[in-house]
């Protein structure tokens, strides 16, 4: 009787201890990970805090309504959106080819696609000038044949942003395509769908979340683009002066203006990213 009670008691104790221990053991975060993680977070967040602290709140409304700031913001949002559209138009097919078509040199092509990621954007801008500039490989011909010049135009801004941002889209979409189950496409093919129909009706809906994530990433990169834009498209208010360029020039004379412009860019980009995330990417 006593023995039995002891046993049950011990059993109960054991169970209780296990209950106590298990979630703790599972939930315990090693300091070796927690401390660098905390440092990493601080490193990313602290500069933003520093920016917000220095915002001149009293003169904020007046600075925000300055025509130059709004013009630059509108141009930035417009060009980043157009650049994302161009990237979708060219980048999604490129990602599909890389993920679904076997061809010699595919790995080389994939590496080439990622080059703009590591290339300093200023070099990207010079490279664009050497191709699309007045004396460039294609630019001379475009100018002579169609009278089209791209440098120093809003279209040039879009081109520079696309060059820098497209790899983000291609990589995201290609990843989504590789992760997607290609048996659905095969099933569509056995049911008589052409490869194009399968692409538009099966593949695209299947990778929609990855596509949305890639597009958002691409848009955000285009919005923040500086180096390639100022090198290829120059800097002129209302035509090629995007928000990052306006921030840089404001920094030359007026730190507070630069901070306000940065804050606007920050709020707009975070706002749009959050809105898109809720709408499109809740399942991702």
């Amino acid at each position: 009787m006593r023995q039995v009670r002891d046993d049950t008691a011990r059993e109960r104790d054991d169970t209780a201890r296990e209950r106590r221990v298990t979630p703790r053991r599972r939930g315990r975060v090693p300091a070796a990970l927690l401390i660098p993680a905390g440092l990493g977070l601080l490193f990313l967040v602290l500069p933003l805090v520093g920016l917000v602290i220095r915002v001149p709140w009293t003169t904020l409304p007046q600075r925000l309504t300055e025509p130059g700031a709004l013009t630059a913001l509108r141009l930035s949002v417009q060009t980043a959106t157009l650049a994302t559209a161009l990237c979708l138009l060219l980048g999604v097919p490129l990602a599909w080819v890389l993920a679904r078509v076997e061809f010699p040199g595919r790995r080389l092509v994939r590496a080439l696609v990622t080059v703009p990621l590591v290339l300093p954007p200023v070099v990207g801008g010079v490279a664009l000038l050497l191709v699309f500039g007045r004396r460039g490989l294609l630019g001379g011909w475009l100018d002579a044949t169609f009278g089209i010049t791209l440098p120093f135009t809003t279209a040039g801004v879009m081109l520079a942003e696309s060059f820098v941002a497209m790899p983000f889209l291609v990589i995201a979409v290609e990843g989504a395509l590789r992760a997607a189950d290609h048996r659905y496409e095969e099933a569509a093919a056995t049911l008589g769908a052409s490869r194009w129909t399968a692409f538009t009706h099966v593949t695209l809906p299947l990778v929609a979340p990855g596509l949305a994530a890639g597009a958002v990433l691409c848009w955000a990169r285009a919005l923040g683009e500086f180096g390639a834009t100022i090198t290829f498209a120059g800097n002129y208010p209302g035509r090629t002066q995007t928000m990052p360029l306006a921030v840089y020039l404001a920094l030359e004379t007026d730190l507070e203006s630069a901070i306000v412009l940065s804050l606007v860019l920050l709020v707009v980009s975070v706002g749009i990213l959050v809105a898109l995330r809720d709408r499109w990417m809740s399942s991702a």
């Binding site: 300091a31 927690l34 401390i35 905390g38 440092l39 601080l42 010079v126 000038l129 050497l130 500039g133 007045r134 004396r135 440098p151 120093f152 100022i230 090198t231 498209a233 120059g234 800097n235 002129y236 208010p237 090629t240 002066q241 360029l245 840089y248 020039l249 920094l251 030359e252 004379t253 730190l255």
Partner: protein
């Protein structure tokens, strides 16, 4: 858990503070003291000084064994901002007194700035002068693409003064962030002309030729230089400023197209 989180956060903050204190102190002892200049001298110089200060820096290193000159070149206004935000610079050489004033008014200069050179504007055109530019008035001709510096940087302010003096209403295709940006557009042949300094054209004479214009005499830039109050290497800073005003350095500047003060 929340206590531990607090403790971790505190540890993180402390680690950051300690790391922040350690950085940058190691150079402070270099060069200070017995008059011999050693250690690194960090010079923040206007973009238009790039080539001449590189040479002057090398000459300075040769004259002061054990010293090393580190150049940071950018638009003068960007440099002035960096200095006022606490960048560890020893010397500031500006392309205009206005940007120097930003630094002196913030109380960051050690002593009074001295003018060490002057620079005059010219029109830079690509080789062959495809736009047929012969003077300031040509810049406002339709079809002539012009780059100039933004008003915020000295070369832009000077260009504006010169254009206003001449009564030329100019719509450039781009307002560049510094004079070298404007010059690069000429080198690449993307614009027909850019308003830059004479010294910049001299530095790029292989691809670019200069068209002088009389109105530039009204917009001559004085270049001031000063040692900085919070210089990590104060002795080095003072020695470098003195060297820039000495005969050999002035010869280098003259050869680069600058005028004597």
């Amino acid at each position: 858990m929340s206590a531990r989180a607090t403790r971790t956060a505190m540890a993180v903050v402390m680690a950051l503070t300690v790391a922040g204190c350690g950085a940058g102190d190691d150079r402070a002892t270099d060069g200070s003291g017995d008059g011999r200049v050693t250690g690194t001298v960090t010079v923040f110089a206007a973009a238009s000084l790039t080539e001449s200060f590189r040479r002057i820096g090398e000459d300075f290193e040769a004259a002061n064994p054990g010293s090393a000159v580190t150049l940071n070149v950018a638009g003068s206004s960007a440099l002035a901002n960096q200095i006022n935000q606490g960048a560890p610079a020893d010397v500031f050489a500006s392309a205009a007194p206005a940007n120097m004033a930003t630094v002196t008014e913030a109380g960051n200069a050690d002593g009074t700035p001295a003018t060490f050179a002057r620079n005059q504007l010219v029109i830079a055109v690509p080789r062959g002068n495809p736009g047929g530019v012969t003077g300031l008035a040509d810049l406002s001709r339709p079809g002539v693409k012009v780059a100039r510096c933004a008003d915020q940087v000295p070369c832009g302010a000077a260009a504006r003064t010169a254009l206003d003096t001449a009564g030329v209403a100019l719509t450039p295709v781009t307002l560049e962030q510094d004079v070298r940006g404007a010059l690069a557009k000429v080198k690449l042949g993307e614009v027909d002309a850019a308003v830059v300094y004479r010294s910049d054209v001299r530095a790029a004479s292989a691809d670019v030729t200069a068209v002088e214009f009389p109105e530039s005499a009204r917009a001559v830039n004085d270049y001031p230089i000063v040692a900085l109050k919070d210089a990590p290497n104060p002795a080095g800073a003072r020695a470098f400023v003195a060297y820039v005003r000495s005969e050999p350095a002035q010869a280098v500047l003259a050869e680069a197209g600058f005028q004597a003060p």
